[in-house]
Assembly symmetry: C3
Homo-oligomer: 495 residues x 3
Amino acid sequence: MKPLALHPDRFFDAEPAVRSIARTLYEAVKALPLVCPHGHVPPVLLADDEPFPEPTSLLITPDHYIFRMLYSHGLRLEALGIPTQDGTPVETNPRTIWQRFADHYHLFLGTPTRAWLDYVFYHLFDIRTRLDGATAMPVYDQIRERLQEPAFRPRALFDRFNIEVLTTTDSAADPLAHHQAIRVSDWGGRVVPCFRPDAVFRIAAPGWRQEVERLAEAADLEITRYTDFIEALERRRAFFKEMGATSTDHAVLAPYAERISAGAADRLFQRAFRSEATAEDQAGFEAHMLMEMARMSVEDGLVMQLHPGAYRGHNEAVASRFGPDKGGDIPTATEYTYNLKALLNAYGTDPRLTLVVFTLDESTYSRELAPLAGHYPAMKLGPAWWFFDSIEGMRRYRELTTETAGIYNTAGFNDDTRAFLSIPARHDLARRVDANYVAGLVARHQVDLDDGRRMMRALAYDLAKATYRLDAQPTATLDLAAGADGAVAANRPPG
Amino acid sequence: MKPLALHPDRFFDAEPAVRSIARTLYEAVKALPLVCPHGHVPPVLLADDEPFPEPTSLLITPDHYIFRMLYSHGLRLEALGIPTQDGTPVETNPRTIWQRFADHYHLFLGTPTRAWLDYVFYHLFDIRTRLDGATAMPVYDQIRERLQEPAFRPRALFDRFNIEVLTTTDSAADPLAHHQAIRVSDWGGRVVPCFRPDAVFRIAAPGWRQEVERLAEAADLEITRYTDFIEALERRRAFFKEMGATSTDHAVLAPYAERISAGAADRLFQRAFRSEATAEDQAGFEAHMLMEMARMSVEDGLVMQLHPGAYRGHNEAVASRFGPDKGGDIPTATEYTYNLKALLNAYGTDPRLTLVVFTLDESTYSRELAPLAGHYPAMKLGPAWWFFDSIEGMRRYRELTTETAGIYNTAGFNDDTRAFLSIPARHDLARRVDANYVAGLVARHQVDLDDGRRMMRALAYDLAKATYRLDAQPTATLDLAAGADGAVAANRPPG
Amino acid sequence: MKPLALHPDRFFDAEPAVRSIARTLYEAVKALPLVCPHGHVPPVLLADDEPFPEPTSLLITPDHYIFRMLYSHGLRLEALGIPTQDGTPVETNPRTIWQRFADHYHLFLGTPTRAWLDYVFYHLFDIRTRLDGATAMPVYDQIRERLQEPAFRPRALFDRFNIEVLTTTDSAADPLAHHQAIRVSDWGGRVVPCFRPDAVFRIAAPGWRQEVERLAEAADLEITRYTDFIEALERRRAFFKEMGATSTDHAVLAPYAERISAGAADRLFQRAFRSEATAEDQAGFEAHMLMEMARMSVEDGLVMQLHPGAYRGHNEAVASRFGPDKGGDIPTATEYTYNLKALLNAYGTDPRLTLVVFTLDESTYSRELAPLAGHYPAMKLGPAWWFFDSIEGMRRYRELTTETAGIYNTAGFNDDTRAFLSIPARHDLARRVDANYVAGLVARHQVDLDDGRRMMRALAYDLAKATYRLDAQPTATLDLAAGADGAVAANRPPG
């Protein structure tokens, strides 16, 4: 058994001058509240506030970073208990799965996944022995025991984590029932939705009509024409905003945005209704809808996020048996300069718009994204995302963007996680890596320590809050939004 | 008020061994003369030698690095006094503009712009308090006062900066009157032109015909056919060379070069005269003209520079109101292996050609540019350019190119600046960053200190001078150039 | 004369904590045997075991890293004694060539070529003065003298180098006579072939029919149809495997793999027989054959390697006068996510397949390759290749891949060299750079020293051996392979 310890200087450069400054900068921000403006925590967790069942279903089954790596070494997803969509039976004994994971924990050496997990083990569950095949069951038991304590209920953890605000990600038709339940509860945690309408833009996808039907129902509106569709979206945005939302999110393959005429949009829309829309039709419709989303953001003030570049479902067998988000999504080269031109020309200088752009293609940081964000007032750079939400990934992000865009055109940190328990670990890692980056600037005498502190606070807290307009509880802003009529009011929650 | 100080070890690694070697290497080159083989200083400055009017029009209004960043945070260019082309009034009070700039100076933390400006403030104007909203006016006054001293006239500064040679950038039809004025003056500063004929190659651009007319007039030649056009270019190159030029420069979107027949070229040329040339025609013509420029360089010995990859005027509203070079130019992914193949096959092994290639796409440093420069004798890598003319940018450039191409296939440093006052700051920063890079090699025992010194001198001085053939004052070389006839002689300056 | 010394801490960070850990990690692996699973050493060297003739033909003439750089500074390949294919005479005096090389040895400062050569000079030939123009002849004489000693014969060096296994690269029709000679000799060195059938897949290339004829002869089979071709390949693979091969290798421009029907494949094949195949036909055929190679690897267990991205023969004049591999091959942007999709969907989860993928486009490390290798069980990342087999190149490789794929989805080190004498130098450099990388993780407290040691051993030895299935001498595995019939047995070596 080897001891588990988290070194107080972890992730800092070994060089004593840099390390000492990094410590100083980190100390000043480590206790700041966590602003979580983008993520995938299921709101039901905080609505129901039920105890977490046991370690495997909490830490392994939902985390595609973990089972992706295990899969890459030949462990079948069935053997890891990942639920199937086609009825194929999977391993049901959580201890068996946990043991398999522990047997392969060395695969994660040098990855952020291991850094996050060790933090969770150490700080949340007071584990003091390293996880491996031999310690798997004692670790499992210790976590399992703790999960039964009231202090480990979701809301208690939310408070203990010092989360100031947590944004979830929700489909356009979502009734936001869990958000409503949280609002009317006696618990004061701030949990807000984010409007993600991707599914209703994918007019060539098999389930599109059902998605539009769900949208129509949610918006209390019959949708037969493109103009109905637009009105429904506006109503839903207004409702989301009423429910505290400050942002929308859009996942696309290419960040291509181009307006077409309302007539042309309606023709595509009708073709989709007849199930005749092609992939090309969809690309054109999505490009147009990004323009519409920008227009609506200008009008209702919701911050617009763009997450392009992932080829979803690359491993078709995994996608069809296990569904989306199972580790088989692979980045592709992504182009921003041409693709975003029309959108930025139309809305990029409008002070009412904030557009946060992410990438899975690091070659665009310095070539396209920093120059664009360093020019257009509306555009901000989202933090290092997904495969790059890591020690080296965040270092490269800062080194490749700061000299052109400065830090004040970046959007602070997003944890972007489904793994509720890992939120403090992720913020802590990001704050450490940013502290080390700024410490490097100070140690090389590019900025002085006072300016370093100012930058550090921005990176750890201020930028996320300001970029996502989370400074204040949203108030009566419905009047700004088109379509904010009785239909929306009908959806309005009681509290 | 916080003091402004420039640390003697700035930009060096904090690690004591590296820092100590970097100091040693830097000390040996810091006083070497500045060789400036590519830049955008207006020659009128040194021809007229008038005092600079006041700080804002000297430091803010002409620097698109500065107002780009301010624009990205919502300051309108009108509010910064950037002159408009459409008559829109702009802020005229330089103090108001300076105050706005100072209020936002924190945006530049961690950027090279701030490093350059602080150097100018400290070394040129003896400012000892940091610029911010509170110190804006005292700083302004101190600079303004100094600018009235004779020591702050352009020629005095040129001498004080220890500039050995300064190359400007001039259009194909430029009469080089300012260069002539400098030549006949009693001042001994070496200021030479660079031949940049981009405008006459853009056959689909609205102002093309006027550009060709200006060219014809300058070359004293009627241009009705493609062959006239070629002869005019040859005459102008000969004249530029006579005026001291050692180089040409070519800005293109893609570095595509491909010869077409003279007949085909003439058909494109005639189409352009009828204002019927398409974007595709222009691309073909530009590709052909790059081949012609290489051919002429082989014949007249002018070093050929290629600056590809910038999508110009991305923000159309800014471009149309304020004109070119206003911060709205955005890089694009750039391809060199296929695009340069024909040119390098035709001329890349000819000892008479030097081709200096730049990039705004850092992913090409190690993938395409270093392998090409590490093979073809004619090709050299231009220094880290524009968005990459920075501490991290220059570090990456060396790390990504040296192992394949060595340092001796690189072209030394270019300041590439419009900002005359920032020239020493830029060279100093480059010398420091290169010193730190070489110090790393020495500290890791990849090269010894003697070799490190040899490399350092090459990076700081020798390579720029040798690559751009600035070793000697050009003498009677006109006989090498085609078309060097009486028409050129008629343009020849008296002295 | 300056002394030549190799610092014991070379290539390690100067920072004392990192350096000290790097030393510890390196010490533990520096004496491990060398596993060489991919390279280009001619097997005749070890079959004949003749003394090396003299320094120039040993160290300069065969090394395209060296003469490429010399060529880039204007030395003609003729002047370096590179043999021509068109009968053009070349320099024949090896001392003249050696002197030219030594005169330009400073060009290699900061390159891995110089690091490898200095290692060879110092450790193999006990040279203690640095090579330059003045020391050229004494160095030449000292090497020449040593080469006459029995200890400098190839087999003696192989043993002294502590090479556990050396894989060569051999065309599909190669009789492997040298491998057979090594097998039946009394020398125990393990030298195994690798099956590289590129030439028979290039159906539009001029020499294709002769290549297929050679294949037919080697497989003892008449090839008139596509199915014959497949059977011949299967027989040859079986024979290679019988001769100890554990891998195949495939060089392509784009790593595009897509199956077509056997009928369609036969139509392309027949077109090729009529010399009518186009470049497009070839691309389709190659893409199909990659699928077939994967299928055969699933069946026969040979590890499949993919080396895409080099545009071969970019300098046509050099290629036509001197032939392939003369320094004129230039990388291109390479795409993996779409190109490998069909292959990975068909075979990427099959536990019988190992697919090792390389790149010359570093932008794909983090964007495509690490995510793919971090998901598909069959796929492993080949080490930093060619232009990137260097100190900074290997550092970037680890920093860009580990956080997503871990180290256990990478294939360990390949020396990939023609230069037999440089093998220890290359492994030593790789072990040092990996030790320094892992030391950084330890010093930043991302992994502890015990885990660091475990990782280090994997990087230096275990991963290469396991990935390439070199753990055991291959035994009776022919039964796994299709087409392993008498024809193969007829080719079977006696021993």
